[in-house]
């Protein structure tokens, strides 16, 4: 692995890639609720007729997107992730319900996954989005851990005619994926660190930013595997179980509320469905909003998501399996 992988902002990469696609595809629209990023200025300038700042009006942004999609356009909407929640019924009815009868390709870009907007505080934290988006039939939930996945997903999202939610980190993140062409979006996950021959003890199953922490832990504790679940819905549960059954235990790590229908519940369901005896531990946020001020590392430490806490959890499992 490259010792110093390039750090990039997911949203910047996404919008840059969209700009490139817009050069050859006149079916693309980008809507924003008055949120910007430098690459977006380029779209505003070069494709002023395909960019609409709807104003600070998320409900209307989603509805306008739905209307454009019904006319056959591929639409991206751009907003701070938790602010999309106020358009939840618009998302439900005009994207998810509607797309079961007529094709609706609307891509909801939510910026600020988990506590990536750490010091902005509780209004900008986003710990419920995966749960509430995942519960909607016909909705795809994309939760990338690096910008290379985001770049690759753009072409897929143009082709795949369904509503999608993009859970993007608010901060620049280093790249993780080296063999990006091996990624299969219909599979939904990738084994970043595979077990040693004969099976591993512990697998860290992560989504989004915690994948970076998992990789750090795996570097320090050889034998620990890492599976990155970048598509929380839909994904190939059968293949995921095949990947997990090589381990004695699994730890899910997510920047989301625990036991609220997120990654933890997804893995639990897969293990139960396979009558697996693999032990499951889940790290995430307990059922309380985060009012603490401080950076992301600090908030993670308070909630048991920092490297030290993960290592302790892994070691406990390693001890008990001796």
């Amino acid at each position: 692995m490259n010792p110093e992988p390039l750090k990039k902002s997911m949203r910047e990469v996404l919008v840059e890639t969209l700009h490139r696609r817009m050069l050859n595809n006149d079916r693309l629209f980008l809507l924003s609720d008055d949120l910007g990023t430098p690459a977006l200025d380029k779209i505003r300038k070069d494709f002023s007729d395909k960019f609409i700042n709807v104003g600070i009006a998320e409900q209307n942004m989603v509805n306008v997107a739905a209307g454009l999609a019904l006319e056959g356009y591929v639409v991206y909407t751009y907003a701070i992730a938790p602010f999309l929640m106020r358009a939840y019924e618009q998302i439900r009815l005009n994207l998810c319900v509607s797309s079961q009868i007529r094709p609706v390709n609307v891509n909801l870009i939510g910026v600020g996954a988990g506590v990536s907007y750490d010091v902005a505080g509780v209004t900008h934290h986003c710990l419920e989005d995966v749960s509430i988006m995942k519960v909607l039939p016909n909705m795809m939930v994309f939760s990338p851990s690096d910008w290379k996945l985001v770049e690759l997903f753009v072409d897929y999202s143009i082709e795949k005619k369904s509503p999608k939610y993009f859970r993007l980190d608010g901060k620049p993140v280093p790249s993780i994926y080296e063999n990006i062409n091996d990624v299969d979006f219909s599979k939904g996950f990738y084994e970043l660190v595979s077990p040693t021959a004969g099976g591993g003890k512990v697998c860290l199953v992560t989504t989004g930013y915690p994948t970076h922490r998992a990789l750090q832990v795996a570097k320090k504790l050889p034998g620990v595997g890492v599976v990155d679940v970048f598509m929380l819905k839909p994904l190939n549960e059968k293949l995921l179980f095949e990947a997990l059954k090589k381990y004695d235990s699994v730890i899910t790590i997510e920047e989301a509320f625990l036991n609220a229908g997120g990654l933890d519940n997804l893995i639990l369901k897969i293990l139960r469905a396979n009558r697996s005896t693999i032990e499951l531990n889940s790290l995430g946020f307990n059922d309380k909003y985060v009012f603490d001020s401080g950076g992301r590392d600090y908030l993670h430490a308070l909630n048991g998501l920092d490297e030290g806490s993960i290592i302790k959890t892994v070691q406990k499992l390693l001890e008990s399996s001796k």
Partner: protein, 279 residues
């Protein structure tokens, strides 16, 4: 009498006859499935008749998604059951389907959805139509289509904030291919609209946001037709709104006089009386 006036008289007669027929059919549907919103579906009859029989809308019953069609969104979806007989009569689906409303296997429910040929969107949860219509209007403009988007809302529906997000948006973007029709029956679910949120003077609300406003009696089918036709042909750079003053439950006196007609269940003797009134 010259030809022109004769034609007008013929059309007036046709629209009035169709309106009478639609009310009767809507009432039949109500008897089969009393959960439909009858009163709300009686106030917009002349509006729907003008749109579909007057020749305001371009459509192809054999090809409901024909690209050249005008888009019609019944944003007050639950209050558009009177559109069912119209769509069937025009050949979007078989008239026999009307008797099967809300039966097992039927695509006609108490609240419409896009399984029904002729319905563009799913509504009846309120306040969605105007925003979706804005997106369609922009999409049509980008395709250089001369099709128009018509949206029908109720006046109670105007309490939804999302309506005004769309009204502001359409005014700013001067969506001249968008025509909103407010079925202003002045009655919401629990009371008269003015006792909930009084929006009068309603014209001013729209004109302040850059809309062209026309207000007429929504039960004069010929007038509704002529107004909608003019609004459709008006390509000045504004979205247009027709405020159609109507009566909720029009045609059935027990409903007309009841501020809570929306959810009123008619008694057997009231049903007999209503049928007589609708003859």
């Amino acid at each position: 009498m010259d030809n022109f006036h004769q034609k007008d008289q013929d059309l007036t007669k046709l629209l009035e006859e169709k309106a009478r027929w639609v009310r009767k059919e809507t009432f039949k549907i109500y008897k089969i499935s009393p959960g439909i919103r009858l009163a709300s579906s009686l106030s917009d009859v002349e509006i729907l008749v003008a749109l579909y029989y007057g020749g305001v809308l371009k459509f192809d019953p054999q090809n409901p998604y024909w690209e050249g069609r005008d888009r019609f969104i019944a944003s007050k979806g639950h209050g558009s059951i009177s559109l069912y007989p119209i769509l069937a009569d025009l050949g979007f689906f078989d008239l026999k389907e009307l008797a099967r409303i809300s039966h097992e296997g039927s695509f006609l429910a108490d609240i419409p959805d896009t399984r029904i040929p002729g319905y563009e969107t799913i509504n009846g949860s309120l306040g969605h139509g105007p925003g979706v219509a804005c997106g369609i209007a922009i999409g049509l403009q980008k395709k250089k289509s001369d099709a128009r988007v018509f949206v029908l809302t109720g006046d109670g529906e105007l309490n939804e904030g999302s309506v005004w997000e769309a009204v502001m948006f359409a005014g700013h973007h001067k969506l001249n291919n968008l025509i909103l029709i407010v079925d202003n029956n002045k009655t919401s679910m629990l009371s008269r609209s003015k006792d909930i949120i009084d929006l009068e003077p309603l014209e001013k609300k729209f004109s302040d946001f850059g809309w062209k406003v026309v207000r007429i009696d929504g039960h004069n089918a010929m007038n509704v037709y002529e107004t909608l036709k003019n609004l459709k042909e008006d390509t000045s750079g504004y979205p247009k709104v027709l405020i159609a003053d109507t009566i909720k439950g029009k045609g059935v006196s027990q409903l007309e006089s009841d501020a809570m007609s929306h959810s009123r269940v008619l008694k057997v003797e009231e049903i007999i009386d209503a049928e007589r009134q609708l003859q």
